[in-house]
């Protein structure tokens, strides 16, 4: 019943829209206001009706609807575009685009949206903006018609395709056309061509589109689609191995970041630093603090937050590390197992301090825009944040290697850790070098925390999750050898990711641990052990 009425109303509006601009405007207003009374279940019809008008004024209305910024005035059901300002709403007239002043929020009710509505908005916006002069908007439009194909839009897509010059948009439109064509009532020959187009484009998206089409395809088309599917699946399977390597590298880089500071404090200095994880956590909290300040005072600098946080995290955790070294650890040199106890105590204190100061719950650390999203490389999906983390881990590694091998500071560090008494008699201020080395290890852990805050919880428990893995990596790689840590981290990461699809996440991890235990039997001093007389004495 309601539906018939609805169609009638729409038809009426369309009819009345013909003569004169004013009446068209009024018709549009009625359509917009109808949104205010619509239910979630029939909202898509209203949206389709709005889209049918083809009016450019509809675009901001639909956009606002999708973002949940469309409000209806309770008193007269007038619908407005809004912006929040305190407890008030700044109103914009949806049809004229003019400002309509401010009004208290309580007088309005928000037009609710759900995923279904958002999908409808996406479809409608897609076909409305296909011809937009702005390239990016066209790109977005092409993506949305591809993601939610609608047979009615086929004509619009073809029109757009005819006019489109930009290669990237064209490629998308081609695919969109093929996708849409498959669900339209065009002849089979054209559909067969469309299948070929999709097969060419490949990827998971095409797989999904073709499988959908397979469900409703008729007998003549079926073999084509099945062949195309088989072809795509084959290439996908090849890429899957590559994808696993990538995931492994990415997990490895996380392990490397977590472990590399430990490779200094534990590997080089021999301190069983159980508070290492807490250093990582402090680094993550520094990032949180930086972002909090930026968000409140300099929102424009948000994309720089990580760059600002890095040196700060290094300084903060480095300072905490130095305090730890001067306050506790320096009394424990030569008693490595006892450093375990003391640093465990320190880790409890640090955790509880953070819990008291920042609260026990997760804190929000956002991704800067350059770390969000993903891109496709062949058949690989590569997320930006993982890519940056891999690069960052390698950069930290290289910098550390340089510092240790090529600078006087590094030389002194190595001298002190190899033979304290000799170094001190050579005039090196060993206590100072000890403190700096420990601070360096801690500082690097803090920088790792900045990176890890991008992919994990920022909570007082953050460090606990990494401490065991870190020790495994260092021990597996060979204590005292930075290269060992690098190779260890990446090989454990890749091993883990190749086991995971077969054994599942839990069993995979158990297997990795068992393999580490067995490996240590074979090479009791890790992958890159120093051989010879000196180490055995």
């Amino acid at each position: 019943m309601y539906r018939i009425f609805q169609t009638l109303l729409i038809a009426l509006c369309l009819f009345t829209a013909i003569p004169g601009g004013l009446r068209a405007e009024e018709g549009l207003r009625d359509l917009v206001n109808a949104l205010g009374e619509a239910k979630l279940s029939n909202m898509d019809e209203h949206i389709a009706a709005l889209a049918k008008t083809g009016d450019a004024k509809v675009v901001p209305v639909l956009e606002a609807l999708g973002e949940g910024m469309l409000y209806a005035r309770k008193a007269d059901n007038q619908v407005f575009l809004t912006k929040e300002s305190g407890s008030n709403l700044t109103l914009t007239d949806p049809v004229t685009g003019e400002s309509a002043g401010e009004a208290p929020k309580a007088a309005f009710s928000k037009i609710k949206v759900n995923n279904g509505v958002r999908r409808a908005v996406r479809t409608a916006l897609g076909s409305l903006t296909l011809l937009s002069p702005d390239r990016n908007q066209r790109l977005k439009a092409a993506q949305s018609v591809l993601q939610s194909p609608n047979a009615d839009a086929l004509g619009a897509i073809e029109n757009a395709l005819a006019a489109e010059k930009d290669a990237e948009v064209r490629a998308l439109l081609e695919r969109a056309r093929a996708t849409t064509l498959l669900i339209s009532d065009r002849p089979v020959d054209e559909k067969k061509e469309a299948v070929q187009v999709l097969k060419q484009s490949g990827g998971r998206e095409a797989l999904s589109i073709l499988s959908t089409a397979l469900n409703s395809a008729d007998e003549t088309l079926r073999p084509d689609i099945e062949a195309a599917l088989a072809g795509i699946e084959q290439t996908q399977a090849l890429w899957a191995a590559g994808q696993n390597v990538w995931y492994g590298l990415s997990l490895g880089s996380v392990l490397l970041l977590a472990a590399i500071g430990l490779a200094i404090t534990f590997g080089v200095m021999g301190i069983i630093n159980m508070a290492h994880g807490e250093m990582v956590m402090l680094g993550a909290y520094t990032t949180f603090m930086v972002q909090e300040i930026l968000r409140n005072s300099f929102p424009g600098l948000f994309d720089w937050s990580l760059a600002i946080a890095l040196p700060l995290a290094f300084l903060v955790t480095g300072a905490v590390g130095m305090a730890m070294e001067r306050g506790v650890i320096r009394f424990l040199y030569g008693r490595p197992l006892e450093t375990l106890l003391a640093t465990w105590g320190i880790s409890l204190i640090l955790q509880q301090s953070v819990r008291s100061i920042f609260g026990p719950t997760n804190r929000e650390v956002g991704n800067p825009s350059w770390m969000s999203g993903a891109f496709e490389l062949g058949g690989l999906t590569i997320t930006w944040n993982r890519l940056w983390i891999i690069l960052f881990a390698l950069a930290v590694f290289a910098a550390l290697l340089f510092l240790l091998k090529k600078t006087p500071m590094g030389l002194q560090m190595r001298a002190v850790t190899q033979n304290r008494r000799m170094a001190s008699s050579m005039g090196i201020r060993t206590p100072w070098v000890d403190a700096l080395t420990f601070a360096l290890g801690s500082g690097i852990a803090g920088m790792a925390g900045v990176a890890l805050s991008q992919i994990d919880n920022v909570s007082p428990n953050l460090g606990q999750g990494y401490i065991i893995d870190s020790f495994m990596v260092v021990v597996f790689g060979g204590v005292g050898n930075l290269w060992g840590t690098l190779v260890g981290a990446f090989s454990l990461g890749i091993l883990n990711k190749f086991l995971e699809p077969y054994a599942g996440a839990v069993l995979g991890k158990i297997l990795v641990l068992v393999l580490i235990i067995l490996f240590i039997q074979k090479r009791p001093r890790g992958l890159f052990a120093l051989k010879g007389r000196a180490v055995e004495a």
Binding site: S356, Q521, R525
Partner: protein, 386 residues
């Protein structure tokens, strides 16, 4: 042979400690059961279980001390043996529930019923018999320790490396026991026990008996450990702790020595776990957490490693402190605990008992030196020098 072994084990300290434990085994349950609630000497049931728990922790710490204090193997996985013993006991207790579970299934524990298991996994067979479970309490941790140690010690994995792989072992076990598919109840573990050997597990009498059993087990283990430590074997352990390759060149199979100590220690830990479970009423994979094993190390260090009563006192002190602090300063007790570990490592490197012994022996040496007027011997400094 055995008698001489036992006699040798009983020096003054051990005799006193054993006497105290035996007295406790009788007194605490008696004061709980025979006095009325408002009697000044009444020990509430709550404390009986609590002290019972401390005693099992003490036994665990003693087990660790045998390998760490006397043999130099810092195991960061001893809680795993404790948990394995606990699971063996827990499985017996689960089987005792029988048809009294929620679903009334006479064979399958509740968690298997609602996850749709159709039959009992093979490794649950036999646990309906106490003797079998009791055997497993010792055999399972012992066997795992034996296999693990056989590989590790043969390959001469030492020091920090050994510590880390023991940690890997307990972590792997933690993950494995978390898996519901393993058939040990996953994260929830085993719980809801009803009775042990036919006695209601919640009855005051049973609790008293369990307390007494814990005290007796601790006393027995103390005697055994002391026997081991004071035998020539014990001297070899200390020798290999301090100079492993010298010991090898003297012709001792160091790996056998370590393996024996490690296995015995794991068995003791298993017994501790088995006594722990009925007193706290639950065993779950959380017991395998690497942090727990580190805590055991800390109890031992606080009490004084390389002494026999040290770990016992350490375990009771730290856990007692934990009990009091978690109630008195729930928000801040971690500061106290963390601070304690730091301070003990810094200022009492030999632990409470070790430091006390050092003090006593220094006083004695000083007195002797004064009595003999024999200033030529540097007798006053022996322990400080180390």
């Amino acid at each position: 042979m055995i008698t001489s072994f036992l006699i040798r084990s009983l020096d003054r300290t051990i005799v006193i400690a054993v006497a105290i434990l035996l007295a406790l085994a009788v007194l605490v349950p008696a004061l709980n059961l025979l006095t009325s609630a408002d009697h000044p000497l009444h020990v509430p049931t709550y404390l009986v279980s609590l002290f019972g728990k401390y005693l099992t922790y003490a036994l665990l710490a003693l087990a660790l001390d045998l390998v760490w204090g006397f043999c130099g193997i810092l195991s960061l996985g001893h809680a795993a043996f404790f948990a394995l013993g606990g699971y063996a006991m827990g499985m017996y207790l689960m089987r005792q529930i029988g048809a009294r579970g929620s679903y009334g299934n006479p064979l399958l524990p509740d968690f298997m019923v609602f996850l749709n298991w159709k039959e009992l996994p093979w490794f649950w067979y036999g646990f309906d018999m106490f003797w079998f479970a009791a055997l497993m309490v010792i055999v399972v941790p012992g066997l795992i320790a034996f296999v693990f140690g056989w590989f590790a010690f043969r390959s001469r994995v030492n020091g920090v490396y050994l510590s880390i792989i023991t940690q890997a072992m307990t972590y792997a076990l933690l993950l494995a026991f978390f898996r519901n598919d393993m058939g040990f109840g996953g994260n929830n573990g085993l719980t809801d026990f009803k009775d042990i050997l036919g006695f209601n597990i919640q009855a005051d009498g049973t609790r008293g008996a369990l307390f007494a059993a814990s005290a007796l087990a601790l006393a027995a283990s103390l005697v055994i450990t002391s026997g081991i430590v004071r035998s020539k074997f014990g001297k070899v352990l200390v020798a290999l702790r301090d100079a492993e390759s010298r010991t090898r060149f003297l012709g001792y199979r160091v790996e056998h020595m370590k393996l024996f100590a490690f296995t015995v220690s794991a068995m003791m830990a298993g017994v501790a776990g088995a006594l722990y479970v009925p007193q706290v009423g639950i065993i779950n994979p959380g017991e395998f957490e690497p942090g727990n094993s580190i805590e055991v190390v800390i109890w031992t260090a606080v009490g004084g490693r390389g002494t026999l009563v040290g770990p016992i006192i350490g375990a009771i002190l730290v856990n007692g402190g934990k009990s009091i602090f978690t109630a008195a300063f729930p928000e801040f007790w971690l500061f106290a605990l963390g601070g304690l570990f730091v301070l003990v490592t810094l200022f009492l490197p030999k632990g409470v008992v070790g430091t006390a012994l050092q003090y006593v022996s220094r006083r004695r040496a000083y007195r002797e030196a004064r009595n003999h007027k024999d200033a030529g011997l540097p007798a006053a400094e022996p322990l400080a020098a180390e």
